[in-house]
Amino acid sequence: MANLNGRARKKNTYDAIVVGSGITGGWAAKELTQKGLKTLVLERGPMVRHLEDYPTATMDPWQAKYPQGQLPPDELAAHYPVQRRTGYTLTEYTKHFFVRDDQNPYTEESRYDWIRGYQVGGRSLTWGRQSYRHSPIDFEANAREGIGVDWPIRYEELAPWYDHVERFIGVSGQREGLPQLPDGQYQPPMEMNCVEKAFKAKSEARFPERRITMGRTAHLTEPTEEQLSLGRTKCQYRNMCIRGCPFGGYYSSNSGGLVAAERTGNLVIRPGSIVTSLIYDEKAGKATGVRILDATTRQEEEFYADVVFLCASAFNSAWIMMNSTSSRFPNGFGNGSDQLGRNVMDHHLGVGASAEAPEFADMYYSGRRPNGIYVPRFRNLGDAATKRSDYLRGFGYQGGASRPGWDRDLVRPGGEVAGPRGFGAARKAALSQPGPWYMGLGGFGEILPYEDNRITLNHDKTDEFGLPTLSMNVTIRENELAMRRDMQTAAAEMLEAAGFKNVRGYDGGYAPGLGIHEMGTARMGRDPKTSVLNAHNQVHECKNVYVTDGAAMTSASCVNPSLTYMALTARAADHAVKARKRGEL
């Protein structure tokens, strides 16, 4: 489509454009609008309004269409061959918040589980809400070990932005004073149950360096005035968050960032807008806006702004950049370094241990805690005692204890029947009581940045809009495999130390993507020759384009990443507003 002129161009012109409305887009929108910029949020998916568009949020079990809300095998196979791979996220209650794979194709040169939600709010609606800070060790690791490139920032530069984000979204957690897991601005922690408390006492007595703390999670346990004024209230312990929360108990863009942005009067959201490329003005040496394809009308349109924030999620922001070629950027936008699409990272998981807890048979719990316990990283912390000779970096555990319910003897897919199960009144009575306590620890491990773990643009396979798609080629290597062995052993040791029975280590295998923490595809760095973004998330080669989602990550740490994406976004927005004022953009 030709460039717009005059009035039409003016109508489509804003101070800032934000691409994507998920966790990072919501934050960019909030910060930019609150700092006075007229901001357009372009979101490829449909509108999801807080409260109004959570159709399954209050459904009782007996209102399900299908057994336990599980989707029929035929539907899963036809529409969700990838989204189903987590095994727990895609149900009748949630499918409207995940993409249909048959409509959103990509190529798996190696298996890659790309779990996505295309709607206003993105995956902030369905995320697990675990919220941890990267530590000083994380920001220094690449430089110290000569891996990848050095982060261009240090922990101290991000710390105030972590504070800022935690205060707004509300994170419940316990301060621990650990250097490898800095404390933040927390609302009161959730409670451990009897078995978790006993586990903590006994395991810490044997392994003092393996601290056991309550999960830090973006739920309100003591809402602030600001949160209440946005219409959010205290978490009600329903644990149905993934359907959308009618209480605003957990943080999503829909209940938080976008609401705050809307209240400024400076926000326009345009759902159904697939951003296909950045518009680059060779003469001015900067981006003037973006091109979109309207998902409904299939018309192209252009929007203009002084500054563009790419917040479309790590792979989609990289996709937009790869698809934005010009004579200045023949290999993709800002890709002079050839690092665009490379260094894909995630967190490897699916490994740990579980056990039966023999004590507390007469104790139970009430309420459904949407959170578990956390064991911060305890390997390779920079001292001799924690140094491993078999791998670099580390892992944390997420876990918890609970008593399985009535569904505990159901045959799992491909599983066995555990002996004759019986039937009749005796089995009914038994299943009406909780089962024995179980405790599990599941590892989340750091993946190193490897240049050849990459996504590339595939013009041979196009989607329903005729747009090129991505090809994935990502594998884990010896460092991750060695770490996995330790993840399994160390978890089992801790459960043994607690005196639990039937301790069972497991490695259920891991496919890249399954951590749902894809990142690294446009990394930050100090040198334009080896990185795509600078210390403020600006594209080195085009300073009025900021990329603030997971693409920016220079290393992965082992903690869930979204809190860091939000902090980077808020920091970058502050930079953009000031730079624009100074006329630098």
Binding site: D60, W62, Y66, N239, M363, S366, G405, P420, K428
Partner: protein, 188 residues
């Protein structure tokens, strides 16, 4: 507790070989009429499912499978949820139950005495426990029993009477005496 439950059922001592010496021919006069119209099951299959579901989860001090609408739930699962292979497996299982009932006692399953019915089910339960449950090889009995179990405990009476259900707990208490709660929670 689990062990004694299993032992109790083993006490019913049934083996397939001795089937013909049972209570052949004692038709159950009161096989209940269906109060609903099946869509995926035939009327005969629906009556069979109705009887088996109630045997698997009978009415005790809390409602049974029939009262909880489990037979209808199974009919719906067959209509909308199961894929072809699973549906065939279940239907073949139902056919087999009648065939075994006829061979052993000369009449369809629903016409047998409760004791004869229990003996047949006990045999299936044992037989299934020694068999792989890989997707292509699932024994019909655990498949059926799982459906009854899910149908029952996710029904309103199952969740709210046989179990405890609280849609909006409001708080989490990590150490509560089980005696105070009495039953397991319906949802996690």
């Amino acid at each position: 507790m689990l062990l004694s439950r299993r032992d109790a059922i083993r006490g019913l001592t049934f083996t397939f070989g001795m089937a013909a010496t049972g209570f052949a021919g004692q038709a159950m006069a009161d096989a209940p009429a269906l109060a609903w119209t099946p869509t995926a099951l035939t009327p005969d299959q629906a009556r069979l499912v109705d009887v088996v579901a109630e045997l698997i989860i009978p009415k005790t001090d809390t409602p049974g499978a029939r009262e909880a609408g489990v037979p209808q739930f199974i009919d719906r699962a067959l209509a909308d949820y199961f894929d072809k292979a699973q549906a065939e497996r279940l239907r073949a299982g139902l056919d087999r139950m009648d065939a075994d009932a006829r061979a052993a006692h000369g009449d369809v399953f629903v016409a047998l005495t409760p004791q004869q019915q229990v003996e047949l089910l006990t045999g299936y339960d044992r037989e299934a426990s020694t068999q792989s449950q890989a997707p292509g090889e699932r024994h019909f009995f655990p498949l059926l029993e799982d459906l009854v179990t899910v149908g029952y405990f996710t029904s309103e009476p199952g969740a709210t009477v046989a179990l405890r259900y609280d849609p909006v707990p409001g708080a989490y208490h990590g150490c509560v005496p089980l005696a105070e709660l009495g039953r397991g929670w319906a949802t996690r």
